[in-house]
Amino acid sequence: MLKYFFSIPLLFSMFLVHAQETAKPKETVQEKQKAEIQKPMAQEAVTDTILPKTNRYGLRVGVDLYKLTRGFYDKDYKGVEFVGDFRLTKKYYLAAELGFEDKTTDDDRLNSTATGTYIKGGFDYNTYQNWLDMENLITIGLRGGFSTFSQQLNTYKIYNANPYWGQQAPLVSGEKYNGLTAAWLEVAVGMKAKVFNNVFVGFGVQLKLLVSNKEPGNFENLYIPGFNRTYDGNFGVGFNYTVSYFIPLYKKKVIVPELKNVSPKK
């Protein structure tokens, strides 16, 4: 299972590389065409004028399709994550995720269910240099995450290295540990591409570092909603595949140094 979990982001990361290469020429072709159309008009009006470039600012809200669809094929999983970001400056975005997960983890010797909600907040920095009025993002960001959840131990096995009296059948526990919390930091790397109008498709991977973890007595948090599976160390990984809608709120003009000599015309 874990193998697939890592393989999927790996697979997608391949697409990332290719997606950029093919997407760029396409966009530039469109932009060129646009520019060609605009050029004669501009020449008629005033000579040597570039239209003022504006950046759109606003709120982007969306949902994680990976979590949403996983419930259809994985009977041990139910979850949803809403994502949102708000453009603060040209490069910086406030970003947050809010989610719910119900995951049954079936290990060889333990079967447990973690249920809870989580919130993550932080910022994204867009490293992608957009052409003209493109609005794509390749972001690197930081988040703080917090989850409050419960964990139920369903069944467990006794490890007995000397099963002289026979291996014991799995024991049914059903004990529920409530009021568990965990907090973590994560580095999020992702991309979002505008597919049409204000609709964006994106995906991201996160590396997480657990900073606080309230463990149940005589058990362990094997899965933390939002943080995902826990390992012997404090780190974790995550993945999301989002579709989001951009709500434009206002525009800001881009100040381009070359425009100094040109009289602003509007």
Binding site: L2, K3, F6, S7, P9, L10, S13, L16, V17, D107, D108, R109, L110, T127, Y128, I138, I140, Y156, K157, I158, Y159, N160, A161, N162, P163, Y164, W165, Q168, L171, V189, V205, L207, N218, F219, E220, L222, Y231, D232, V237
Partner: protein
Amino acid sequence: MKKIISFLLIFAFGLSSCEKDDICDPDTPTTPRLVITFYDINNSTVRKRVTNLMVIGKDQKEAIVFNKTATDDTRFLTSGDSIAIPLRTDADTTTYKFTINSGNPNASLINSDEITFVHSRQNSYVSRACGFKTIFNLSAFQRADPAGDSVWMQDIFIINPNIEYENETHVKVFF
């Protein structure tokens, strides 16, 4: 950006290759066995070796294997001064028959005693890979002599009733 992606790829590959924290390390202390040490009845501080001791659980077909390398019946025999025997994780008593000089042609030397250990059990969490272990609290023992050949284990003391690790003696037997 390229650097970050390649770093992530390496990281993800690294994780895929060392994902196995789901195998229980044999060195992890899991369900402990009961450690019995034998002492000389005439000199209570001196350990004494048993001769061809065979230990078989009640209603079990096979005795406990002490010598894993042997292939014949000698694998059930031990001549050390200490043994570790598993307790039942599904019941509160464990009964064993201890036969000394087992297989000796001189039948008068063969002597077997039956001991029932009374213990409470507690299941304690170990790890994701190992699951739980059972630790015991030994409260009492009952000695019987179904063979009618008198008892060879003359004195039995519970030294350490909390059975959690195997690196200590829980029961001392004097003979």
